[in-house]
C-alpha cells in the first residue's frame, strides 16, 4: 500500500506541472495571437495605401478636405505650427499683447533686436522696421498679413504668390487662366488681394488632386525655371512635363524658397535666373535688367534685398550634386505601420536627424549634429565679419556725403556697397546658415568682405595728396 501522504504530494506535484504547462501554453499562445493580429494589421495596411473618402478636384483648396483621404499626411502637415529652435535657426515662441492692427498673441523673436546691424544694412527699407525669424508653414499668411512692414509701406498683391494657397484664387480671378489671375493679383493692393485667399500653402499647391503627383503651380517658378533652362541651352522648358520625380521633390519647394523681385509697374513676380542661378549671375542679371529694391537711406546707394535663396544655395552644394532633393531631408520618408510616407511636418532636419540624415549617413546623431554646426559656426563667423565690413563701408560713404563729396565720386563706392550688401544678404537671408552649400556660402561672404573693403579704399584720398 502506498503512503497516502506521498501519493498526495505526488499528485499535487503533478497538478503543479500541469498548471505550469497550461500557463506556459497560454503565455506562448498570447504571444502568437499578438503576432498574428500584428501581421494581419500590416497586411491590411499594405493592401490599401489610402481610402478614397472624398472625391478631390482641382477646385478644392481646403487642406482639411484633402486630409480626409490622407489623414497621416494631413496630421503631419498641421504640425508645422511647432516652434522650435535650432542653434542658428528655428523660431522661438515670443508672447506679445495683441492689438487691433495685429491680433497675434505669439510671434517669433526679432532678428533686428538680435543683430542691430541689420537695421543699418536695410536703412530706408521696410525690413528695418520689422524682421523676425521665420516660423513654420502654418504661419506664412498671418505673419505676412500682420507684420509691421505692412504699416510702413504699401505692398502689392504679388506677395500672395508665396504667402497663401493661390492656385484656386489665381484661376478664379483669371477666369480659369492661372497666368491671367497671377497678373491681375500682382497689380492689386495687398489688402485687396488678401481678401481673395484663405489658406497658407495647402495640398493643392504641390499635388495633382487626382494622381497626387507633384506639380508646379506657381507662375513665378514656371517662368523662372524656363528662363534658367533656356540659359543652360534648353529653350521652352515646361517643368510639369519634363522634370523627373526626384527633381520635382526639389522644384515644388523652389516655387517659393528663392530670390525674386517685382518687375516693372505691373509688379510681375520674377525670379532673376535668366543668366544663371549663382549669386554672381543673379547680380549680373540685375545689372543688365536695371533694378533696385530701394535707395539706401544713409548712403544713397541703389541697393537690392536678397530673399531666402534656399533653392539657389542648395543647387551649389554637395547634396544637390548627389541628387538629394529638399524633401529627402526636410520631409524624410517615415514608416507608419506597413506604409512608407513622406513626413509632411516640414522642418529643420536638425530636429529629425534620425530620419533626415541617418538614412544615408550612418553615424551617431551627436556626431552628425556636430558636423552641421561646425559648418554653420564657420559661416556665421564669416557672416559677422562681412556685416562689420559692410557697416564700416556704409559709415564711410555717409561721412563722405556729409563732407560734400560729389555723387560722381560716390558712384564707385555705392556700386561696391550694392554688391557687398547683396552677397552678404544672400547668405544672411538664406535659411541654412550656409549648410546648403558651405563652401559657396564661404566664397560669397569672402567676396562680400572684399567688396566692402574695396569700397572703403576707394573713398580714401589718392596717396599723393596725403
Amino acid at each position: 500500500m502506498a503512503d497516502p501522504t506521498e501519493s498526495r504530494t505526488r499528485s499535487s506535484l503533478g497538478a503543479r506541472a500541469v498548471l505550469l504547462a497550461a500557463a506556459a501554453a497560454a503565455l506562448v499562445t498570447l504571444g502568437v495571437v499578438a503576432l498574428l493580429v500584428n501581421i494581419f494589421e500590416r497586411k491590411q495596411e499594405a493592401r490599401n495605401p489610402f481610402y478614397r473618402v472624398v472625391e478631390l478636384t482641382d477646385d478644392i483648396e481646403d487642406p482639411a478636405v484633402w486630409g480626409k483621404n490622407f489623414p497621416l499626411q494631413y496630421d503631419a502637415y498641421r504640425r508645422t505650427v511647432d516652434q522650435q529652435r535650432t542653434r542658428y535657426g528655428g523660431s522661438e515662441a515670443v508672447p506679445r499683447t495683441p492689438t487691433q492692427a495685429d491680433p497675434r498673441s505669439v510671434v517669433a523673436q526679432s532678428r533686428l533686436e538680435e543683430d542691430p546691424r541689420l537695421k543699418t544694412m536695410w536703412a530706408g527699407y521696410a525690413f528695418a522696421a520689422d524682421f523676425r525669424e521665420e516660423r513654420g508653414h502654418a504661419y506664412m499668411l498671418d505673419d505676412q498679413t500682420f507684420t509691421e512692414r505692412q504699416q510702413v509701406t504699401k505692398q502689392p498683391g504679388t506677395c500672395m504668390h508665396c504667402h497663401a494657397s493661390v492656385y484656386v484664387p489665381y484661376r478664379t480671378l483669371g477666369g480659369g487662366d492661372l497666368i491671367k489671375g497671377f497678373e491681375r493679383m500682382n497689380q492689386m493692393p495687398y489688402f485687396e488681394a488678401r481678401k481673395l485667399v484663405n489658406h497658407p500653402v495647402a495640398c493643392i499647391d504641390c499635388h495633382d488632386p487626382v494622381t497626387m503627383q507633384l506639380r508646379v503651380t506657381r507662375p513665378g517658378f514656371l517662368e523662372g525655371i524656363r528662363a534658367l533652362k533656356a540659359a543652360q541651352g534648353t529653350p521652352g522648358y515646361d517643368v510639369n512635363a519634363s522634370a523627373t520625380r526626384q527633381e520635382m521633390r526639389a522644384y515644388v519647394c523652389g516655387q517659393c524658397h528663392v530670390e525674386y523681385y517685382f518687375k516693372g509697374p505691373e509688379k510681375r513676380l520674377t525670379y532673376p535666373w535668366a543668366k544663371g542661378i549663382r549669386v554672381d549671375e543673379i547680380l549680373q542679371y540685375y545689372e543688365e535688367n536695371p533694378h533696385d529694391d530701394w535707395t539706401h537711406a544713409e548712403t544713397g546707394a541703389p541697393v537690392l534685398k536678397a530673399q531666402h535663396p534656399e533653392f539657389e544655395m542648395w543647387s551649389q552644394g554637395i547634396h544637390a550634386r548627389s541628387g538629394v532633393a529638399c524633401a529627402d531631408c526636410h520631409m524624410p520618408y517615415t514608416r507608419v505601420g506597413a506604409l512608407k510616407i513622406s513626413d509632411h511636418h516640414v522642418r529643420s532636419p536638425l530636429l529629425n536627424i534620425n530620419n533626415a540624415c541617418q538614412t544615408c549617413h550612418k553615424w551617431p546623431e551627436a556626431e552628425l549634429k556636430a558636423r552641421v554646426e561646425a559648418n554653420q559656426e564657420r559661416v556665421f563667423g564669416l557672416r559677422n565679419r562681412a556685416m562689420d565690413a559692410l557697416v564700416a563701408l556704409i559709415g564711410d560713404i555717409k561721412d563722405a556725403r556729409a563732407r560734400g563729396v560729389p555723387d560722381a565720386e560716390l558712384a564707385g563706392p555705392r556700386k561696391l556697397q550694392r554688391r557687398a550688401q547683396f552677397m552678404l544678404d544672400f547668405v544672411e537671408a538664406e535659411n541654412s546658415t550656409g549648410f546648403h552649400a558651405p563652401q559657396e556660402a564661404g566664397r560669397i561672404l569672402a567676396e562680400s568682405i572684399d567688396y566692402a573693403r574695396q569700397g572703403q579704399l576707394a573713398l580714401r584720398p589718392p596717396p599723393r595728396q596725403r
Partner: protein, 147 residues
C-alpha cells in the same frame, strides 16, 4: 483536479492550432527557403529588398548568402534567433529606426564577405592581424543594398 490535464491539453491544442494557422497565414514555410522575396514578406524589409534588386550583388548573392552563416545547423540557428527577435520586436513595436544590425548579424555578414573575397582580403588583413581587422562594409556599405 481531474480537469487540469484536460485544460492543459486543451491549451496546448489551442497553441498548436493558432500557431499553425499563424505559420501558414504569415507564410512561415517561406522562411525555410532561400528566396529573397521571403525576407520582404515583412513590410519593414521592402526597401532593402528593392535596393538589393538594384545592387551589384543581386546576381551572385541572395539574402541568405550574406546574412546567414555556412552550414545547415548554424544557418537555421541564426534564422531561428532572428525569426524570434524580429517577431518579438515588430509585435511590440520596440525597434530603432533606421534599423541597426545587431552584433551577431554583423559578424555573420563580415564573415560572408570573406567567403568569396578571401584571397583579396587576406592580402589586406594578414599584416594587421586578427585584432585590427577592418570592417568591409565600412567602405563598401552599398554593395548588398543601398538602404
Amino acid at each position: 483536479m481531474r480537469f487540469l490535464p484536460i485544460a492543459a491539453a486543451a491549451s496546448l491544442g489551442v497553441l498548436i492550432a493558432v500557431g499553425g494557422y499563424t505559420f501558414i497565414y504569415a507564410k512561415g514555410y517561406s522562411y525555410v527557403t532561400n528566396d529573397p522575396a521571403a525576407c520582404a514578406n515583412c513590410h519593414v524589409m521592402e526597401n532593402h529588398y528593392r535596393a538589393w534588386v538594384k545592387s551589384s550583388h543581386r546576381a551572385v548573392a541572395v539574402c541568405n548568402d550574406c546574412h546567414t552563416p555556412p552550414g545547415l545547423v548554424p544557418k537555421y540557428t541564426v534564422k531561428a534567433i532572428n525569426g524570434f527577435n524580429h517577431s518579438f520586436a515588430f509585435t511590440t513595436g520596440r525597434f530603432p529606426e533606421p534599423l541597426r544590425i545587431t552584433r551577431m548579424n554583423f559578424d555573420v555578414t563580415e564573415k560572408a564577405c570573406r567567403k568569396c573575397h578571401q584571397e583579396m582580403v587576406e592580402a589586406i588583413e594578414s599584416p594587421v592581424g586578427e585584432k585590427n581587422r577592418l570592417s568591409c562594409i565600412r567602405c563598401h556599405s552599398t554593395v548588398g543594398h543601398l538602404e
